[in-house]
């Protein structure tokens, strides 16, 4: 059991912010947030407003709302409420990120390797993140299938999976897929592709094969052939793309390359849902806007590799002005904890209005992932994925006090702080057990005092980025 699992249970049964009320077990009870400043991310800012949550959904927004006697009440006076942050590009909680053995790994699905005990989930919750798009790495022109999750830390893994989120897939262009190719294992031949030329051809080839595959099924269904074709897990997701049933999230940097992918999509008649990273997308903003493609970018990262040298923090603003749906993502367990500040930066670089900047970490990624009916803004009827902040979330001095998903609290700073002494006590007791005592001599490695936890930003998209 993770330390936080215990914590979570404690929260469920006894914890409270005000010291008197009891948290809901799951979503049965009512939750009332009273007298807060609400940044709705859809209809502006509401001062001194209450939010009523019933069965995990926002049922009322207004003043002087009444709740039943056993409702959990949060006093929001002086505090700010936002929708839970949605990180549109993450590799948190994945036990494997890349299947590098092939240029096309569309048969893989990160759903198979989710690890719900990853401590980074909790740390992201503590930064206000409730939902993430967990993507396969960028080692392949066509990578694996993604999974959209809510960070229900402490709950069984199947409860993490966002119900109804449309399926998606990772594509990758540029340095990463070609670099994997150009660094073969000893004794191996390089993996195709090792150039941007080859990358485009891998994608084209895959879709031609997918088209043929679809034809074979169409023929069978039309009774032109007698034998049912073999189900091909590599090509099935690509057929879904062709049929508009699967969203493509395409990692890339250089604008020409992203544009070429858009042209391939035009050719095969499908849409690219999001350009990921897309740090040069500002150079082709009209072309992106025309196709209804969205962009999920870093706020201001640049210069960490050659293809990121033309990245500018004004990227999001230019895209926004062109009518492109923009989200700001982390691609990093570390950065995920401060996406609110990344969104704040967007206001400064290019003059994006506050609510539009907030949307870039809430409603916009929700739309990109096809989950905006359920989450992404503070609106009646949506799931209560909410964060209570000590100050305006775009202030560097603010921090999340409460992070809830569907009305259930998954992070509570007050509780976290209180719990630290209990954890220490538990450790002390555990260390006294015979099983945990060192025999005094032994042959195995003590834990090396480490100084850095891997922080991944694009590089971790790559295979060598550690365990993520």
């Amino acid at each position: 059991m993770k330390k936080i699992t215990t914590l979570f249970l404690t929260i469920l049964f006894i914890a409270t912010v005000s010291g008197s009320s009891v948290y809901a077990q799951a979503q049965k009870n009512e939750v009332l947030i009273r007298n807060a400043t609400i940044l709705t991310a859809s209809r502006g800012t509401l001062q001194n407003t209450d939010i009523l949550i019933q069965n995990g959904k926002i049922t009322k927004i207004g003043t002087n709302l009444k709740a039943s006697a056993n409702a959990i009440v949060f006093d929001g006076t002086g505090k700010f409420v936002t929708p839970g942050i949605i990180d549109a590009h993450s590799h948190t909680m994945l036990d494997a990120i890349n299947e590098i053995s092939s240029s096309v790994t569309s048969m893989t699905n990160v759903r198979d390797v989710l690890n719900p005990t990853d401590i980074s989930i909790y740390r992201a919750l503590a930064g206000g993140v409730t939902t993430a798009n967990l993507l396969h790495g960028s080692a392949n022109p066509i990578g694996g299938q993604n999974t959209v999750v809510r960070y229900k830390f402490g709950r069984p893994v199947e409860e993490f999976v966002f119900p109804g989120a449309p399926p998606g897939i990772k594509f990758a262009l540029g340095e990463n897929p070609k670099r994997i190719g150009s660094n073969p294992q000893p004794g191996q031949t390089p993996r195709y592709p090792i150039t941007r030329m080859g990358t485009m051809e891998v994608i084209r080839d895959a879709f031609i094969r997918a088209r043929d595959y679809k034809q074979s099924w169409d023929d069978f269904r039309a009774k032109k052939t007698r034998v049912q074709p073999r189900r091909n897990l590599e090509l099935e997701p690509l057929v879904e793309i062709l049929e508009g049933k699967r969203l493509v999230h395409a990692h890339g940097y250089r604008s020409d390359e992203h544009l070429n992918l858009l042209l391939i999509a035009d050719e095969f008649g499908f849409k690219i849902q999001t350009l990921q990273h897309a740090l040069e997308a500002y150079k082709i903003a009209p072309e992106i806007a025309k196709r209804g493609t969205a962009a999920s970018v870093f706020a201001d990262s640049w210069s960490y590799k050659l293809e990121a040298y033309d990245s500018i923090p004004y990227n999001a603003a230019i895209l926004w002005k062109n009518g492109v749906n923009v989200s700001i993502n982390s691609d990093s367990d570390e950065r995920a904890r401060r996406l609110n500040l990344d969104a704040a930066k967007i206001m400064k670089y290019g003059g994006v209005p506050e609510e539009e900047a907030l949307k870039m970490i809430t409603l916009n990624p929700a739309k990109q992932l096809g989950i905006d009916k359920q989450t992404g803004s503070v609106d009646i009827g949506k799931d209560a994925d909410l964060v209570i902040w000590t100050a305006h979330p775009f202030s560097v001095y603010s921090r999340p006090e409460i992070t809830m998903i569907e009305g259930t609290v998954y992070f509570d700073r007050g509780r976290d702080v209180l719990q630290r002494a209990e954890i220490a006590k538990e450790r002390e007791a555990l260390e006294k057990l015979d099983v945990n005592k060192a025999p005094g001599s032994g042959a195995t490695q003590p834990r090396v005092p480490s100084e850095r936890r891997i922080e991944e930003r694009d590089e971790a998209d790559l295979v060598n980025g550690g365990n993520h």
Partner: protein, 456 residues
């Protein structure tokens, strides 16, 4: 083959920059004529300036809610609620604006690495070998790096840039973020010696597809101890070398001691004339540094300092300050509290340890310095202390507080005028002065922005 590829791409990249500059050149033709033709393309304009009606956050003293700062001959000539403004001064209406001292990042590699990943030709952070006391960041820091402008337009005016790698990495330099030559930038050209204090590492070296296997733990402990002995030996050798040199200087009948560049470079540091920057993160290693400083009586500074607050007494006793670089890092152990590294500066402050907050970044993201400080502010540090931790405190640690780090008469005019709290990400910088020169708020980023923002 690979290198050729990179070169091709760099060439392409450079030509794109050229195109961008061409466009920007037109856009900025009316911006001050004193360009030096470098990639920065501006060194600003000198003159006498008066920022009036502004909120002046002096940092060292009380904030002046409505006052004036006068800049003359590169210095702060006057500051106060009512000061006489020289007749020739260019007046800047500071109504609704705040004036801050320029921020100082006390440990970066800025100017030493243009593109840190995949373009080794642009990287000059680490010399080969383990003992490079004579390597000087000052001689490699690129005045024309695009990181310079990108950083300063966010209010950071001075940085320490340091080499990395090996046991003794070389000498760090303190520079202002303006100038066409290293000497124009230099504040303390050779400020301090970087020593990566030996720590337990099971790293087995590179090689093979996945790197060589780590060494065994006990072996790693031994290796750490051996390295500390090596370090002591280098100090001893330096002492002997210096003695022989001095003796010869007084008495030429003695045998002439051959010059050893590396040991020569060590002399001011082992004598405590200049500081040594010890990189160390974990408690045990920081205790190691404290012990080492006690024994050698050098002037020590900790860089990194994740767990420095646990060694507060030792640090205070030996007057060792901490340049803390871990705000944008994850706690290393699963069991650490989620805010373990956010809280550390406030713990240092409460314990009375001298400290500064730094990005520890290689260049591109040094501009985030205010947010590092601000986040520490969200987790225990007061706003005032947070601001000091990136202005006055680093100036003190870098020994330049007589010239930098606050707005006081007589200090160097490194000044930032902003429309709000300078640590807030929404705040916009309106004016920027380094050495009293008013600099245009342009960078590679604004140039590319101007080039593409209206593309249809």
């Amino acid at each position: 083959m690979k290198i050729t590829n990179y070169e091709l791409r760099i060439a392409k990249s450079v030509s794109r920059i050229g195109a961008a500059l061409l466009v920007c050149g037109l856009a900025f033709l009316n911006v001050w004529a004193q360009n030096d033709g470098s990639q920065q393309n501006q060194t600003g304009k000198a003159g006498t300036f008066a920022i009036t009606n502004a909120r002046i956050v002096t940092v060292s003293g009380a904030t002046i809610e409505n006052g004036t700062v006068v800049i003359q001959n590169g210095k702060i000539a006057a500051v106060g609620a009512s000061v006489t403004i020289p007749a020739n001064a260019e007046r800047i209406d500071g109504k609704g604006l705040s004036v801050f001292p320029g921020m100082i990042d006390a440990s970066t590699n800025l100017g030493l690495a243009e593109i840190s990943g995949g373009v080794p030709a642009s990287v000059d952070v680490a010399e080969t070998g383990s003992m490079n006391a004579n390597a000087k960041a000052y001689t490699a820091v690129n005045p024309h790096s695009s990181h310079v402008n990108v950083t300063r337009v966010n209010g950071i005016t001075t940085v320490l840039s340091m080499p990395v790698g090996g046991l003794i990495s070389g000498q760090a330099t303190v520079i202002n973020l303006n100038g066409s030559t290293q000497s124009e930038m230099g504040v303390v050209p050779n400020f301090g010696l970087v020593i990566n204090f030996p720590r337990i590492s099971t790293f087995g070296g590179f090689g093979g597809g996945f790197g060589a296997p780590p060494v065994e733990f006990g072996e790693a402990v031994k290796r750490r101890d051996t390295q500390i002995e090596e370090l002591k030996k280098i100090f001893k050798d330096t002492e002997n070398y210096a003695r022989a040199k001095e003796a010869y200087a007084k008495d030429k009948t003695l045998p002439y001691p051959a010059t050893n560049l590396r040991l020569e470079a060590m002399i001011p540091y082992i004598r405590g004339e200049r500081p040594i920057l010890f990189t160390a993160e974990r408690e045990r290693d920081i205790r190691g540094v404290v012990k080492f400083v006690e024994e050698t009586r050098v002037k020590g500074v900790i860089v990194g300092g994740q767990e420095a607050w646990k060694v507060a007494d030792g640090l205070k006793k030996n007057n060792i300050p901490v340049i803390y670089t871990n705000i944008y890092n994850l706690p290393v152990r699963d069991d650490d509290a989620y805010d373990f590294l956010f809280e550390a500066p406030s713990k240092l402050q409460q314990a009375g340890v001298r400290f500064a907050i730094s990005t520890g970044n290689d260049g591109a993201e040094v501009r985030d310095l205010p947010y590092h400080a601000g986040l520490a502010g969200a987790y225990g540090l007061s706003k005032e202390e947070a601001l000091k931790s990136v202005t006055l405190y680093p100036a003190q640690i870098l020994g330049i507080a007589n010239q930098f780090g606050s707005i006081e008469t007589g200090k160097t005019a490194n000044i930032v005028v902003a429309d709000g709290d300078i640590l807030e990400p929404r705040t916009n910088i309106k004016y920027l002065f380094i050495n009293g020169r008013m600099l245009p708020l342009t960078s590679r980023h604004t140039e590319l922005y101007e080039s593409f923002k209206d593309r249809k």
